[in-house]
């Protein structure tokens, strides 16, 4: 496929770059504790948390496992676990 003139490209192509494998620790959401407040969603630097039906849902394809969500969750509903790969 011919490259675009001037290296101009469409936005959103980054989804091909799955960054989930960068992780060492993986966040797990305790759906009983989570009330879907969205704090984790707001802070997530990798845009890999969504609030679906009042619960945080993590997209593990992209989550780099930084742990900010777990640290900032006011209800301690997210725990960081060592990921078995």
């Amino acid at each position: 496929m011919r490259l675009n003139a001037g290296a101009v490209c469409a936005g959103g192509g980054s989804y091909v770059n799955k960054t989930g494998h960068w992780r060492t620790f993986i966040p797990r959401v305790d759906t009983d504790k989570c009330n879907g407040c969205g704090i984790c969603y707001t802070y997530c630097p990798d845009s890999s948390i969504e609030i679906v039906e009042k619960t945080a849902q993590i997209d593990y394809d992209y989550c780099k496992g930084c742990g900010v969500c777990a640290h900032e969750c006011p209800r301690e509903a997210i725990a960081m676990e060592e990921e078995r790969k």
Partner: protein
């Protein structure tokens, strides 16, 4: 409550990146009818691999030192095309804003373009490997101001860029922190309601460059505010209209201790003078900006 994601996953930012947080928050505030301009820097590098861009809004990266000028040109063109509903926002790091880009930024502010320029401040040149910038906190160890037997790190004060922006007589200047997303997003939104140039300085900790656990980005950002090191305020038409009060002022040590870049200050008694100076800096901020209300903190660091 989630909206269409304008900052796509798959970017190459470090885990826990404060700059990425700031950018996501910014885009939530601007919505999708926006053109974003960035100078060279970490954000630019990790978001814009050809064909793998994470920007779901039109985005332009020119050079390190010209984001203010590029944004001016974009805004002028939109005006001539009658596309004035589309907002123009620039976001760049402290290197591209405080240092090399200050000329173009000053030009933009002086000409009064309808642009909100946001500086995500992670206090050093992270893209090239943590070299000191004029935004680096005094006594931080960086790769070009390393602590050593004859050095306590960066010796000069942090440039007060927001005050410089204010001196351009622009309608809106604010400081913010990624630790307070709602405040930051409100400021971005509010900035867009003003005619003329707007400047927002948002503090955005960097786990790699500062040396703290990636989970602590927000925590460290919060500590910068709670110690008085990073005053959060807002000014309209040249007057400071609002400051963020600190509920419980924390000693600066709490902020410094979690970061590797300040480790040398605690390694021996030699760092006492610098610790005291940093505490004094916070005290002055608190007093000058009225951050603590009636309460004033005097923490003895010895």
């Amino acid at each position: 409550m989630t909206q269409k994601e304008l900052f796509a996953s798959g970017h190459r930012g470090c885990p826990g990146c404060g700059a990425a947080m700031a950018t996501r928050m910014m885009l939530r505030a601007t919505g999708d009818d926006v053109i974003v301009v960035s100078p060279t820097g970490c954000l630019e590098t990790f978001t814009s691999m050809y064909g793998e861009s994470c920007w779901e809004v039109p985005w332009f990266h020119g050079l390190f030192e010209n984001a203010g000028a590029i944004a001016s040109g974009v805004e002028a063109a939109l005006k001539m095309q009658g596309r004035t509903d589309t907002k123009v926002v620039a976001i760049g790091g402290d290197g591209g804003t405080f240092d090399i880009g200050i000329g173009a930024l000053s030009g933009m502010l002086e000409r009064g373009h309808n642009v909100t320029y946001i500086c995500y401040d992670n206090e050093a040149y992270m893209n090239t490997g943590v070299q000191r910038s004029s935004a680096t906190t005094p006594y931080a160890s960086t790769t070009t101001s390393p602590a050593g037997s004859h050095s306590m790190g960066k010796t000069r004060p942090k440039k007060n860029l927001a005050a410089i922006a204010l001196a351009h007589d622009v309608p809106y200047v604010a400081t913010a922190s990624i630790a307070y997303p709602q405040d930051f997003m409100n400021k971005v939104k509010k900035s867009l309601t003003f005619q003329g140039s707007r400047f927002i300085h948002v503090h955005a900790p960097c786990p790699i460059g500062w040396g703290f656990d990636t989970a602590l980005t927000v925590e460290v950002g919060r500590l910068a505010v709670e110690t008085g090191l990073m005053p959060i305020w807002e000014a309209e038409y040249g007057e400071i209209t609002k400051v963020r009060k600190i509920r419980e002022v924390k000693p600066i040590e709490e902020y410094l201790k979690v970061q590797r870049r300040f480790r040398h200050l605690f390694a021996s008694d030699a760092g006492k003078k610098e610790l005291a100076a940093l505490q004094e800096l916070c005290n002055k901020n608190i007093e000058k900006m009225g951050l603590a209300g009636e309460r004033k903190v005097t923490t003895d660091v010895s």
